[in-house]
Subunit: 343 residues, 2 copies
DNA sequence: TTGAAAGCGCTACCAT
DNA sequence: ATGGTAGCGCTTTCAA
């Protein structure tokens, strides 16, 4: 494989044209299969030349000329959160299926970083931006101003202008709590939800309270803890809920799987068993839930479909729905809430 | 904020120059803080103009002109694997700290996809490529041919030409198995390692056998299972190792955390408890390990340092080390091997 | 069917 | 200190 070099040491379309004895335009036509037809013989000459000198098209140059990058950006709060990772995995699948590539921006739960990431991605001319928020509400005006389509994943943006895919978090929390109450007869209820600053936290807590109220019960304020969506916070919540030797809840709903893992781990260390002593249910579980000990009861989101829909929206921004697209969640009761022994 | 538009409906540097009454060159100088100085007054005029008309530099155009994209590519086998995700998280951190952005390619454990991803990323002119293999050996010649620096993360490429950061997997397996034998007096040993097709599998198994041999023990072939690095496979391995009611191992080392999770989950369903009935140790654990029930004993890799080093190599490809850079692993015994009760 | 040439938006050299 | 301008590699219109 002969390597020709231009100034920058790269093989360019120029080189191919020279080698094949044609014009640069023709090379473009064969590489892109259009927009003009090329005689079979010529085409073969070009293909051979490409092979011979090892030409690869420069994606940056074509992006500039074409005005499209075939790249999507995805800003996530923290890729090491399994729920986030599984969404990213699905999104990447969809993106790849469209012959595009995903620019992942991990904001490490930092709002400033997140803003920088959004700006950066936009500057890179992504064809669309997926967004999973750290902060309650985002500065997405920059994006909309730039004309780049955006879809908020998993949350709804209160501006009512940005497309979004999500489930009804309030209903999900309600359903989980209702299960705990109706199926397992739980009456000493607690909830570990997210930080007060996050919109979801209130929604989830609201749903849980709805369920309790409907059953003539309440979730006492002392048994309502706001905490980050981490395992550490889940463990810490256990200290609050089960700290003194006194009365403690017998059923806990957590805002996400990580909190539940931390909680269960802490209960284990305290010698309390799940679900015998305490029933645990969590929102937004991942495939992990099934393999935890005990298997974790959870509410799941249809992330594959959500990812697909999100990409669909980005591809036809004209079909923009300011109304959030709401998907159905699924209640998956397992061992940790008292359902099924060794299923 | 007035929006000027050119043909494509974007605000360009032209518009800024016109608005500020200067040349386009000057606009470049102020945006990039160089390479020529600009008078404070002029600079302010430009800045104002930028603000006024809402200008944002086009990263694609500047990448083309500059010949550098400030973008790194990272090809991973599956982002929903927590070990992979935590590495990606660290890599993203490092990349961001260099004011760059990460193009994540998730090959979904598919070799063809992986090849496509590598090609795609290279075509996009990434300034460097990080690579975590699905397949044992990769077609990285394309990359090296293109002159793009590459570093293989977590594995070593046998071509001996590509830089890599990793730990000594063989020694890691040896250390874990030795712990099981020496500290806990285990003698009925089993190993769940990766698929035969993967280089690591043999290394890990080799290390485990070294340890056994040194103690005058063996890991019987019936208790050596090759399986994918998934929870499902870990559970399936349990069926093999503990299937009939007969003799079973009392200590199992797994190739990764996912396998261990699947294994422990299956043991739990079978009514066997960890570590009382079976001690479990795994390689390459993540932060998750600590919160599992029981807390999982593991060998960890210093992923933050490895990520940093990988990026360092990409930034100075001249310092290329064909020799893999080997990091120290850390043995973290917890509950699952029999260490510490409720630590 | 093929080729020439005008951009795409920005950088940076060379003048002034 | 500022401005003109020649590229960067590719796409695509228009003419041949």
């Amino acid at each position: 494989m002969t390597q020709q070099t231009n100034r920058r040491g790269k093989v360019t379309r120029q080189d191919v044209a020279r080698e094949a004895g044609t014009s640069v335009a023709v090379v473009s036509y064969v590489v892109n299969d259009g927009p003009r037809p090329v005689a079979p013989a010529t085409k073969q000459r070009v293909l051979d030349a490409i092979e011979r000198i090892g030409y690869r098209p420069n994606g940056i140059a074509s992006a500039l000329a074409r005005g499209t990058t075939r790249t999507f950006g995805f800003v996530v709060p923290n890729i090491s959160n399994p729920f986030v990772a599984s969404i990213a995995h699905q999104v990447e699948r969809e993106v790849f299926d469209q012959d595009c590539v995903l620019l992942l921006g991990d904001s490490a739960d930092d709002a400033a970083r997140e803003a920088a990431l959004v700006r950066n991605l936009l500057d890179r001319q992504v064809d669309g931006l997926l967004y999973m928020a750290v902060t309650q509400d985002v500065q997405l005006d920059r994006a909309t101003a730039s004309g780049t389509p955006v879809v908020v994943v998993t949350h709804a943006n209160s501006d009512g202008l940005t497309a979004s895919v999500r489930i009804d978090e309030r209903a999900a929390a309600d359903a989980a709590m209702t299960h705990l109450i109706d199926v397992h007869g739980q009456r000493e209820l607690a909830m570990v939800t997210g930080p007060e600053s996050m919109m979801n936290s209130a929604l989830r807590l609201g749903g849980a309270r709805d369920a309790a109220t409907r059953a003539g019960l309440t979730i006492p304020d002392e048994w309502t803890v706001h905490a980050p969506y981490t395992r550490e916070a889940g463990s810490a919540a256990a200290a609050v809920l089960f700290g003194d030797g006194g009365a403690h809840p017998t059923a806990v709903l957590t805002g996400n799987q990580e909190q539940a893992i931390g909680l269960v781990s802490a209960l284990h260390r305290r010698g309390l068993s799940v679900p015998e002593d305490v029933a645990v249910f969590c929102l937004n579980g991942t495939d992990d839930s099934e393999f935890l000990v005990p298997a974790l009861s959870t509410v799941t989101q249809p992330i594959a479909e959500m990812a697909r829909e999100a990409l669909r929206i980005l591809s036809r921004p004209d079909h923009y729905a300011a109304e959030p697209i709401v998907f159905d969640f699924e209640l998956v009761p397992r061992e940790s809430c008292g359902c099924g022994g060794s299923a």
